[in-house]
């Protein structure tokens, strides 16, 4: 019986710096397809990607790339392409020289043709002979992607690849990543923007405060995010009466009067949005202000961690 080796596998991986835990007991395995690594800034996404890329040793647990230990084995890089976010590209090289340099280091046959090909793939042919120091942030991201593709890696790790891209470039990169995933590659990209992940990823890993808050099929996790309890504060002409009226609706399961405002907890965001105005109107109450109090990504992730 043959077993399929996952492209990327983490088993109970933690990484800490002194007293600070950047990644906390994370386990998952990924195969072909596009996976989004979602989380707010500082959640541990970059640390996780660097662990996966073998650029950081785990403090505990194991990281495998294609069945090989990721840290301390340079040979894994024949399988992996990495597009780091923060690491600078050498500004004194032209785009073409930088990509060719990467092709030479990978030992790619016919490096010149491959260089031209991947530069065309990321649509930078016109700017290829310009010094990288003249590139915009989006162009730098794209030239890094071109450099990561020279050896046709089976695993592609991208750290915030859409940062700095304009909407057209963003669409193009999404299309490119989809195409590469369809060819059987395992692609993992990080983002702190839900919509980016929603549009591209088939599977999702949600990181929050160093922990894996959720993982799996994107749609089911999206549903979890939408169906969580939602909190609002309301200012109206009669908060007490409005609270009583809202509590009679099944979409609302809690009300409270706090600091001159009405705090409402709703189980269903859509249903609450539909009933709040009609209920107020029926009770003859004027609504002055309706504010969601937990609509940040952080609160969503925090909820997922608590579940």
């Amino acid at each position: 019986m043959s077993t399929v080796v996952p492209a990327l596998q983490l088993d109970h991986v933690s990484r800490w710096y002194g007293n600070v835990v950047a990644v906390n007991d994370v386990s998952f395995a990924l195969g072909a397809g596009v996976t989004g690594l979602l989380g707010p800034n500082g959640a541990g996404k970059s640390t996780l990607l660097h662990l996966l890329a073998g650029l950081l040793a785990p403090s505990a647990g194991t990281v495998h790339i294609g069945g090989r230990v990721a840290f301390g084995d340079p040979m894994v890089y024949s399988m992996v392409g990495l597009v780091p976010e923060r690491e600078a590209v050498p500004g004194y090289l032209t785009g073409r020289e930088f990509v060719r340099f990467n092709a030479d280091l990978q030992g790619v046959a016919d490096a010149s043709a491959v260089t031209d090909g991947v530069i065309a793939t990321v649509e930078l042919t016109d700017a290829a002979d310009r010094s990288i120091r003249t590139y915009s942030k989006g162009m730098r991201q794209r030239i890094k992607l071109a450099a990561a593709l020279v050896h046709e890696p089976s695993i592609l790790l991208l750290d915030e690849p859409f940062n700095g891209l304009d909407p057209r470039q963003r669409l193009h990169m999404m299309e490119l990543l989809r195409r590469m995933a369809a060819q059987g590659r395992a692609i993992l990209f990080s983002s702190h923007i839900l919509e980016e992940v929603e549009r591209l990823a088939e599977a999702i890993l949600v990181m929050f405060a160093g922990r894996l808050a959720a993982s799996g099929d994107f749609r089911s996790i999206r549903r979890l995010m939408t169906d969580r309890p939602h909190r609002f504060t309301i200012r109206s002409s009669d908060d007490r009466a409005l609270g009583a009226a809202l509590l009679s609706d099944p979409a609302v399961f809690g009300v409270d009067l706090l600091d001159g405002r009405l705090a409402v907890q709703a189980s269903d965001l859509g249903a609450f949005a539909r009933i709040v105005a009609p209920v107020a109107r029926a009770a003859g109450i004027r609504l002055h202000e309706l504010t969601p109090t937990d609509d940040t990504l952080e609160s969503v992730f925090s909820y997922l961690v608590r579940r």
Partner: protein, 241 residues
């Protein structure tokens, strides 16, 4: 081989483009300026004295420090090294390429001004040429050993310039002169030992024996490359989150 040549080329371009390298290149030519001033003023001090005191003891370690720490340390600082490390290449190859570039650039920066200084002060007589040639060769091997040692320092610590300056100024400049038994831990003393053996000149204090000097420089060179390789194998990225 293609990867090795590519790393050599990119490292050399990176070093050549750094402002620090240009400034240190100017410093390397300072002895020439001094020699010209001496000649214009009609004076003619001993060439060995200038080559020993100014070039071997001061210019050589400073140039090697800036170049050596720049060969990898600067690439770690700005993050460009990552693109060389995420490749299926043995780390010794990266270390060797960086070390050789550091040694070569250091030699290119210190040897020509040494030769010009020696010729300006000592003239073209056979003894003077032997002295100049001897010091230049000592500068070449000593500067290379320094550069490779400082390359390793650039991978080990983010404060390589400060640590290197401390080693050069405090250890080599003061302590190795006072504590006789520690001179074998000084690249400068080994370089002066080579210079003394090649020129027969008095280099201040009793020089180390030629064989011991060469042994020290070989240990520093090979040890520096080994240390760079080991440090690159254990290299970990600094991550912000």
């Amino acid at each position: 081989m293609r990867a090795f040549v590519a790393i050599v080329g990119v490292t050399a371009r990176a070093l050549a483009g750094r402002r620090r390298t240009l400034l240190i290149a100017l410093l390397a030519w300072l002895p020439v300026l001094l020699a010209i001033l001496v000649r214009i003023g009609g004076g003619r001090p001993d060439a060995p004295e200038i080559l020993d005191a100014l070039v071997i003891r001061t210019v050589c370690p400073l140039v090697a420090l800036v170049v050596g720490t720049g060969a990898i340390g600067s690439e770690i600082e700005d993050g460009t090294l990552v693109f060389q490390l995420i490749k299926p290449l043995p780390r010794w190859l990266v270390a060797l390429a960086k070390g050789l570039v550091a040694a070569f650039v250091t030699s290119v920066l210190i040897v020509p001004p040494m030769v010009v200084t020696g010729l300006l002060l000592g003239g073209l007589g056979p003894d003077a040429i032997q002295t100049t040639g001897g010091f230049a060769l000592a500068g070449l091997v000593g500067g290379s050993a320094y550069a490779i040692g400082f390359t390793a320092l650039g991978v080990i610590t983010g404060r390589a310039l400060i640590v290197g300056l401390g080693y050069t100024l405090i250890w080599e400049g003061v302590l190795a002169g006072i504590l006789e038994g520690t001179r074998f831990l000084s690249v400068r003393q080994a370089t002066l030992g080579v210079a003394a053996a090649l020129t027969g000149e008095d280099v201040g204090e009793e020089p180390l024996a030629a064989v011991l000097s060469i042994g020290i420089l070989v240990v520093v060179t090979v040890g520096g490359l080994a240390l760079t390789t080991l440090s690159l194998r254990r290299f970990q990225l600094r991550t912000a989150d």
